[in-house]
Amino acid sequence: MELLLTNLGHGMSVALSFENLLFCFIGCLIGTAIGVLPGIGPVATISLLLPITFGQPATTAIIMLAGIYYGAQYGGSTTAILLNLPGEVSSVVTTLEGYKMARRGRAGAALTIAAVGSFFAGSVATIFVAASGPLLTSVALSFGPADYFSLMLLGLIISAVLAQGSVVKAIAMVVLGVSLGLVGTDVQTGQQRFTFGIPELSDGIGFVTIAMGMFGIAEIILNLERPESRSVLTTKVESLWLTREEAMRAIPSVLRGTALGSVLGILPGGGAALSAFGSYMMERRLSKYKHEFGTGAIEGVAGPESANNAASQTSFIPLLTLGIPGNAVMALMVGALIIQGIQPGPRMVEAQPDLFWGLIASMWVGNLMLLIINLPMIGMWVKLLQVPYKFMYPAILTFCAIGVYSINNNVFDVYQMLAFGIFGYLCSKLKMEPAPLLIGFVLGPMMEEHLRRAMLLSRGDVMVFFERPISATLLGIGFIALLTMLLPNIRKKKDSALAE
């Protein structure tokens, strides 16, 4: 414990140097900005800024890049709440209750709890990383392909509870999402699947393309269709701050979200994505205000936002202790470090204490900065909603188009986004929800990959999923989750049958 404090103290002295503080701030500011702009993600931004880091000291460089990464997570929730535009996998969940809150005139409260919850979760997760990072490495390593498969399967099962209406429709959307995820090059054989000879589809459909289309564009069409609803946001902007009741309701959700996110974030690939909607599911089960879910329950914003931010901090663990990047942003950071002649890995803690502890301390400093940057801006964001919709929607459309184009520099992606927009509009007319589709789209391909790898390694023996303790446990939880989901439905049917 004492050693931990000494180390953190050392880290603080590094992070609080003028230069590092400045670049941490710059990183957070850029991150927030790109997070707010739909579609422009941290990957494109960091790669653009990479040459700047060649001339910087390694610690400063990585502090700035990390700031961009978690800054983008903060900014991403802003558009999700205000405009129903999720830029990241984790923000998909935020749209569910956050956007509903905004429509009720509680945009300020939703943004505040997102910022405060994220800050709290980030702070806790930072200490978690510092205290047990190296130890947790073995957890990440003990996850084999079979365990990942079972984890993803569990994720898919619980994603059905995201449904706000019919469970059958939600399952249909999950399956459709999984099928969309199959488009592109098969990892195992290199075969092209469902690409119909279109070269742009050979790497699959982009997440941002689908998310922008199904959520953002579809929402615009819906809003334009109902002239009366457009004024809803502008007339009812109430207090920006949380009411006492809201705060009391949010606190347990933040705590649960933080715990879940900290744990799931450690798993490279999918851990962070699972954390947000895992937390949503948990809140929906545990909250005393279950009936409010779907109409803007604050628990549904507080939990997932905390989980997501905690996970984005702990996702540094596999990077820092193993040198294994968990996602594309982490891969870029490894690149930045390698160019500086530093290999992230088990020896980094001893070989580069300044960098390791400096980065960890800067995560906390950065989270504080983000809170300071974001809280005063909430008033401004909410005012943005008062801009007449006829000016708003062309701007949103333009930003979406630019964002989607900038990912691959390809116009085809913009057309895809529009097609998904129309599809999303149809889905909403049919009361089919887009969130389960997106979860299926994200988890499906990962699940398939791990399933096939596990089967390849076991030479086709299915027992591998039941023999490994982690996998067996996860499958068991999934089975129970499925039962609890189906039981109320069966009971309900019985009740209604009896009533008749």
Binding site: S47, Q191, P199, A328, V334, R459
Partner: protein
Amino acid sequence: MPGRIPRRVLLGATSLLAMPMAARAQSWPNGPIRIVVPFAPGGSTDLSARFLADGLTQRLGVSVIVENRPGAGATTGSQVVADAAPDGQTLVMSNIASHAISPTLYGNRVRYDPVRSFTHIAMVITNPSVWVVNKDSGINSLDDLVRMAKGKQGGLDMASSGAGSSNHLLIVRFCQQNGIDYTHVPFRGAGPAMQAVIAGQVPMMSDSLPSAAGHVRQGNVRAIAMSSAERHPSFPEVPTFKEQGFDLVSTSWFALSGPAGMPAPVVERLNRETREFVATPAAQTRFAELGGSAGDMTPQAFTDFVAAEVARWAPVVRASGATVN
């Protein structure tokens, strides 16, 4: 005769037509230069391109911008450059995937010819592959590997960064040459594959030296063979395939190419600046750290090299079973 145009005017007109081309060559570089990277940001192609772009920006006095056009085994971005004007403003970070493997792998889906549709300018960086094994696998040499592969049903599990990657093909060639069975376990990139080797889920993988170097140095995994012709100066303790009695030499490469028909002076200048830049001590240090070597080839030598690579990999691609069509 009315309507007949004097020959002198005609000559003048044709020279006028030719002028913009000549003028452009003379005034090159004319505005920012774009280097298309046919992969997503963050990979080794992207990193080497950004490193080169940074150096060329200082040497040429215009900004050199990296643009990522990923997709279809690096063929999407390469096609964009093959179709661009050969004015030296649009270049591509050509590599073993886009210009040696994918043209065979993707067959008639690729419209460009890896040699004739491009002006090959300069080699930037080359690096060997290294075969690494789990520390507790009991494998210490290629002989051990062959022996173990023979004793297991379906052969040994061998991991790589993806189906159809140069490392996958290296595994195919090795097993073909030695008549052993193998189960190829492809991953989405080298990172997850390395993790599986460290965790012992897969006993070995073939990896590019830059992405494996750190793990080898830190002792996360054991290096048993290097695919270069000579031992690598940064890893003198790792023997080559040849030393262990296996006739296999392979390097992946990252280079600078442009559309076919670029003006010779532009090609020469770019070749000179690139070679000078990668030969600077600063660049050399970074390359050594990565496990790569700076390229040093004339445009002609590099063009011949690409042609040889295509011919060399085509039969291996076909044997790998990784077909796109």
